[in-house]
């Protein structure tokens, strides 16, 4: 459950103030599937960073699952991120020296989960994204689609409430991209909220709710046109 009220994010560029986000009002229910689209510089990535608690709003109130997180200290935000939010990046962001299961174990490592449980849960989620046979491969031994699946496994291993995906298929061919989309949509159908930022209209249209951003504002907020 996400509630944004009057969220602004200003950047100082030289003498000018750029309003990357301008009084955003947004409610996202648990388990929703939302796409955020819009031209470059419209603020969609900034909105995703705010939603993911990587960035702090300049003004406004952000409530996550009923508690105000807009003014928490950094270390609290890190804990909230760890437990409630999973990130999927365009460039995967795997740690190249670690194997697939070690990458998936990272969030649990930070939690202090013991080794045996880490290993077991990492294997479970890697299995669920179809990488049973790739546990001990390092990223440079995996294809792009496989890397993104490792990244998805890492994002869901802590059982977050929301998955935030920034151009998740941007670096993939259409076949691998399609596989990735079906994996995250499958996760969404199991109840995990899904927010996808994309330029790709085909991908954006698949979501049940479409946000369109222009100049830091939400220009339109429509349910999917029933096809």
């Amino acid at each position: 459950m996400i509630k944004l009220r009057g969220i602004c994010r200003d950047y100082e560029v030289g003498d000018e103030t750029v309003h990357a986000l301008d009084h955003i009002e947004l409610d996202i229910a648990a388990g929703e599937y939302i796409s955020i689209m819009g031209p470059s510089g419209s603020g969609k990535s900034t909105l995703l960073n705010i939603l993911g608690l990587l960035d702090k709003p300049t003004a406004g109130i952000y409530e996550l699952d009923g508690s105000d997180v807009s003014d928490l200290p950094d270390d609290h935000l890190a804990q909230v991120r760890r437990q409630k939010i999973g990130f999927i990046f365009q460039s995967f962001h795997l740690v190249s020296r670690l194997t697939a299961h070690e990458n998936v174990e990272l969030p649990m490592l930070l939690m202090g989960t013991n080794k045996k449980e880490r290993r077991q849960r990492a294997e479970e989620v890697l299995d669920s994204v179809g990488l049973r046979s790739r546990l001990d491969h390092r990223p440079d031994q995996l294809s792009g689609g496989e890397r993104q699946r490792v990244a998805i496994a890492r994002a869901i291993v802590m059982r977050p409430s929301f998955l935030l995906a920034d151009e998740p298929t941007g670096n993939l061919d259409s076949k691998s991209g399609g596989e990735i989309i079906s994996i995250v949509e499958d996760l969404n159908s199991q109840g995990i909220g899904l927010v996808v930022v994309t330029h790709d209209p085909d991908l954006g249209d698949r979501a049940r709710r479409h946000l369109r951003m222009v100049d830091g504002r939400i220009h339109s907020d429509n349910p999917r046109k029933s096809a």
């Binding site: 950094d74 890190a78 990046f89 740690v95 802590m158």
Partner: protein, 402 residues
């Protein structure tokens, strides 16, 4: 995040950058090895000099004529033979009466001419007693040393240094030959072992006579110095007072002698070499600080190379302290491994030096090894702190775009 997990995560990062890691290990290892080796060299010099002086015996006292004070004719004056009043053989005999004194060796030194048949040579003539050999632990290569005689009894015998034996007495049997010293003939009883040096005198070029003979030869009743050996170390202080009192009584109440202990000489040398060792250790420790600065530089590079990894760790919930811990642990690993390698190299080099120069003992003192390791660890952690904090302070949004 558990401590062990942090350590493993950090060590994995180091193993995956073997070039960077080995260069840093090398820098730290050189620093630690330098401390270990240089302090070992300093200690070797100290031990060598101490041992040379200790060969005189640690419970020996040296009695010099004249009083050491701050006037012009101080200790230096005495050492060059400028005396207020001579010590005599009677003084020596009086001192020797104390039962706590086991050996007494008066020493008379002068130059003389030694001749055998047509050969002759200018030699150092040392007049002393049989006890001298015991006190100084002199070795002989042939025959025996001077006999036990009453100090005031002259006897026509002598012992010669190795060079005299080879160059003056051109005979295949030196012991038993008659050698002429000045215009007195004496029978050679023994030949000293090679290589002895006592104070300023080269024993190889000396001839030893009973002290009474030497006094006759130089026509002087004075004694250059007296070496006294006590029964036990604990006797040193009472015996020192006893000697001062005895001689003062005999010299009409004038205290005109100086008694120095072997300890005083030794501790002077100890402190000189202690300072040298500390200086060497200090120089070497600077290289450890340099290694620390290198750690900082390389860790800063590592932080900027791994910016996106740091961004990711933040995105998946790493706190400020966890990031600091990860990078600090890397620095600590480097320092600890480097220190271990350095100890190994240092001890190996010391051992090698010991094999090359067996008379010296190059073992580094434990304090130096401990200090080297401690400095390596501290500089690793202190200099690792700035890069670790920089990593932890990175803005995750910025870091993820790298």
């Amino acid at each position: 995040m558990k401590v062990l997990d942090t350590a493993l995560f950090a060590s994995q990062a180091l193993r995956r950058a073997p070039m960077r890691t080995s260069m840093m290990l090398l820098a730290i290892a050189i620093g630690v090895a330098a401390v270990v080796t240089l302090t070992g060299v300093g200690e070797a010099a100290r031990r060598f000099v101490s041992a040379e002086f200790a060969s005189l015996g640690t419970n020996s006292l040296i009695v010099l004529p004249g009083k050491a004070d701050t006037s012009g004719s101080g200790l230096t004056g005495m050492l060059i033979g400028e005396t207020a009043r001579d010590l005599t053989l009677d003084d020596v005999i009086a001192i020797a009466r104390n039962p706590r004194i086991t050996r007494v060796a008066p020493v008379v030194v002068g130059a003389g001419n030694a001749s055998w048949r047509s050969r002759s040579r200018e030699v150092t003539v040392i007049g002393t007693s049989a006890d001298m050999r015991e006190i100084q632990r002199w070795e002989l290569q042939a025959g025996r040393f001077l006999p036990q005689l009453d100090l005031d009894v002259a006897s026509p015998v002598c012992v010669v240094g190795s060079i005299i034996a080879e160059e003056v007495i051109n005979s295949n049997r030196v012991v038993g030959e008659w050698l002429r010293i000045g215009d007195v003939r004496c029978r050679v009883l023994g030949v000293m072992a090679q290589g002895g040096i006592s104070g300023a005198f080269n024993l190889d070029e000396s001839v030893f006579l009973p002290v009474a003979n030497a006094q006759q030869l130089f026509n002087s009743p004075g004694v250059f110095r007296i070496i006294v050996e006590t029964r036990e170390r604990a006797d040193m202080d009472p015996i020192r007072r006893y000697i001062v009192d005895t001689v003062r009584e005999r010299h009409q109440g004038v205290e005109d002698i100086t008694v120095i202990t072997q300890d005083a000489v030794l501790s002077t040398f100890d402190s000189i070499f202690g300072v040298i060792t500390m200086a060497l250790a200090g120089i070497a420790a600077i290289s450890l600080l340099v290694a620390g600065v290198l750690i900082m530089n390389v860790m800063l590079v590592a932080v900027s190379q791994r910016t996106s990894e740091i961004g990711l760790l933040k995105a998946i919930g790493a706190t400020h302290n966890q990031i600091v811990a990860i990078f600090l642990t890397e620095a600590a690993w480097l320092a600890a491994l480097g220190a271990a390698c350095g100890l190994g190299v240092g001890y190996t080099v010391s051992y090698g030096l010991g094999v090359a120069y067996p008379i010296l003992d190059f073992r580094a003192p434990v304090w130096a090894s401990a200090a080297a390791v401690a400095i390596a660890l501290i500089s690793g952690v202190v200099f690792g702190l700035a890069p670790a904090r920089r990593a932890a302070k990175l803005d995750p949004v910025f870091a993820l775009t790298r």
